[in-house]
């Protein structure tokens, strides 16, 4: 009897309203939606394997499998370098934001100190602040540090924590019973030990949520690479994909199969991350409501 109330209710709800016709219609609607959600992926993958002239022939199976498209994109542009750049930047961004946000969140959750409510109010306020407002002045900050044409601005801001994750992790830390910390304190643990040995291990799921959310955000970001990366050797994959589109798409060589191949290379890592960390994504979204 380990079902939660919610699950029991769901089962009850389905029992209440399900005639066989209703159930079939519902399933058909869901399958229809599935086709809409999945079709573009198949279209993209199959187009990336077609010869140039049949990209738009709308058959899901290429009549002539052109795996060379992938070899060609790999040699035409420094795709390997871009993937490596993206991996570095993404990991740096995600590791930095997870550690710093956890520290700050613990500070707000465990201690009562003068100025706490005011400062936490500021955290919430920055969460509401549209990122775009800070785009220009932050560029000037990095410019004055002579870092405006480097990858540093893509991950270094994460060293200072991010309001959304601070909020999320604080909620989790607040949920830990205070007696745990009091007991540790009596045993002579210092603050760092309490954070590192008690709070962090107990909140690991929330830390994983933070990490995977940031992996997605950092991997898919286009606007900051557009602002900060001039040298094609420093491009991340989304920035590189825009360059590929410029070169091979409309107004370029009109070789859409190459564009499609590059799009697949950009997208697949996120799909893999999602399939591995699905539970974290859906539970994280359900509890925090991130990502409309």
């Amino acid at each position: 009897m380990s079902r939660t109330v919610a699950e029991r209710d769901t089962v009850a709800a389905s029992r209440r309203t399900s005639g066989p016709i209703a159930r079939t219609l519902r399933l058909l609607a869901l399958l229809g939606a599935t086709v809409i959600f999945v079709y573009p992926f198949f279209w993209l993958i199959s187009a990336s394997l077609k010869p140039s002239e049949s990209v738009f022939d709308n058959s899901l199976l290429p009549s002539d499998w052109q795996f060379e498209n992938y070899r060609e994109i790999w040699t035409a542009v420094p795709l390997g370098t871009w993937v490596l750049n993206s991996v570095t930047v993404t990991l740096a961004a995600a590791v930095a934001v997870t550690i710093s946000s956890a520290l700050v969140a613990f500070g707000f959750a465990y201690f009562r100190f003068p100025g706490r409510n005011l400062l936490f109010g500021l955290v919430i306020a920055t969460m509401m602040l549209p990122a775009v407002v800070l785009m220009v002045p932050q560029y000037l900050v990095w410019n004055s540090l002579h870092l405006a044409s480097s990858q540093v601005p893509l991950w270094a801001p994460n060293l200072f924590g991010s309001a959304f994750y601070i909020f999320l992790l604080r909620q989790f830390f607040l949920g830990l019973p205070r007696e745990l910390f009091d007991a540790a304190r009596i045993d002579g643990a210092n603050y760092w030990t309490m954070f590192y040995r008690i709070a962090v291990p107990l909140c690991r799921p929330a830390l994983v949520v933070t990490f995977v959310f940031e992996v997605q955000a950092a991997w898919t970001d286009l606007i900051r690479p557009l602002i900060y990366l001039r040298d094609p050797d420093l491009f991340t994959v989304p920035r590189g994909l825009k360059a590929v589109l410029d070169q091979f798409g409309e107004g370029g060589e009109l070789r859409w199969e190459i564009v499609c191949a590059a799009s697949v290379v950009v997208t697949v890592p996120m799909i893999v991350v999602f399939l591995i960390c699905q539970r974290q994504f859906t539970s994280g979204i359900a509890t925090t409501g991130r990502k409309g």
């Binding site: 699950e7 209710d9 709800a13 389905s14 519902r26 609607a29 869901l30 939606a33 809409i36 959600f37 573009p40 992926f41 738009f56 709308n58 520290l103 500070g107 707000f108 201690f111 100190f113 003068p114 706490r116 400062l119 500021l122 920055t126 602040l129 549209p130 407002v133 785009m135 220009v136 002045p137 932050q138 000037l140 900050v141 410019n143 060293l159 200072f160 924590g161 601070i166 991997w219 898919t220 286009l222 557009l226 602002i227 994959v237 989304p238 994909l241 360059a243 589109l245 107004g251 859409w256 799009s263 950009v266 997208t267 996120m270 991350v273 999602f274 859906t282 359900a286 409501g289 409309g292």
Partner: protein
């Protein structure tokens, strides 16, 4: 006689003394050490830049030439520059189309999913996959699938006897096309609604059934009020995100490195225009004024939505 001024003075002094004393407390010092990263970041990357941006909005700063104070010129220019009106209008229309549609569709999908006993995990995964797709790739998919001549959408429409519009080039169809494209990634909203729907107490449905309410009445009087918190949350978040739409449109319509132009006025979104002013033309002063206008618009819209929500959002005691 107690003079209010002196009372306040001692009060303040007492507070200051307590504040000073608290610094001798180990806890306080440790707490500030823990939150130090955020404090530094807030000063360097949020508060400082905001002040700088405000000051810059009254200058003609371009990163190269001499900077001089231009008073309210940048703000006056906001009203004279036709691209500001165009891009703001585009952005508002896009948001007004996208947000209600995505909420309604996401709710419909979530309600379908709620009733499924087997395979709901599979459907949830499938619905969420587009959210993981980088927006650049989404922009490219828009160009390919919505292409007026050869795109699969118009081929499908042709199949049922409809001549589809030129989604990617016809000014009046570009925004609807982009709305449809971005609707593809509504899986996040579905997950939120699903979680909210699962929390609706079953007794309420039973009670309304006993009162003779039909499906629709139960939906309006039980489901909607019970999940109004989630609806409100997604309304705010989706609105703010839509108002900042950039990547899909920029990918699809910004020219190549050789032709540095934006190919569709109908898809000139506000953030795209801001980005161009700031980083293509290096009009940093003007771009700062543009940022503050957007900030103001987002603030006003959010406050209006929050005010409206007070009338519609149902909170059960202190539970949520």
């Amino acid at each position: 006689m107690s003079d209010p001024a002196t009372l306040a003075g001692t009060g303040r002094r007492a507070r200051t003394r307590r504040w000073m004393a608290s610094w001798r407390n180990r806890d306080t010092r440790a707490a500030y050490l823990f939150i130090l990263p955020w404090l530094v970041g807030f000063a360097l990357l949020t508060a400082g830049p905001m002040i700088a941006s405000f000051v810059l909005s009254f200058t003609n700063y371009d990163g190269i030439g001499p900077t001089k104070n231009v008073g309210f010129d940048n703000y006056r220019q906001l009203f004279d520059d036709p691209s500001v009106a165009t891009s703001m209008m585009n952005t508002l229309v896009f948001t007004a189309l996208r947000v209600p549609l995505s909420m309604a569709l996401a709710l419909a999908l979530a309600m379908l999913l709620l009733r499924v006993t087997r395979g709901s995990g599979f459907f949830r995964t499938v619905f969420y996959l587009p959210v993981m797709t980088p927006s650049v790739a989404v922009g490219i998919l828009f160009l390919l699938l919505f292409n007026g001549n050869v795109g699969v959408i118009n081929r499908a429409l042709e199949f049922v006897g409809i001549t589809g519009p030129s989604w990617t080039t016809d000014g009046s169809w570009v925004k609807p096309g982009l709305v449809l494209t971005t609707l593809w990634a509504l899986g996040g909203t579905v997950v939120i609604y699903l979680a909210a729907l699962k929390n609706v107490p079953q007794e309420l449905y039973e009670a309304s059934e006993l009162d003779g309410a039909g499906r629709w009445t139960s939906f309006v009087n039980v489901t909607l009020p019970q999940i109004s918190g989630a609806l409100f949350f997604t309304l705010i978040v989706n609105t703010i995100a839509s108002l900042q739409t950039f990547t899909e449109a920029y990918t699809a319509f910004y020219g190549t490195a050789n032709t540095q132009t934006y190919s569709s006025d109908a898809a000139l979104f506000y953030v795209v225009y801001l980005f161009q002013q700031a980083f293509q033309f290096m009009h940093m002063g003007y771009a700062s004024a543009l940022s503050w206008l957007l900030f103001l618009v987002i603030l006003v819209i959010t406050l209006v939505q929050a005010r409206l929500s007070k009338r519609f959002v149902y909170y059960e005691g202190e539970a949520r």
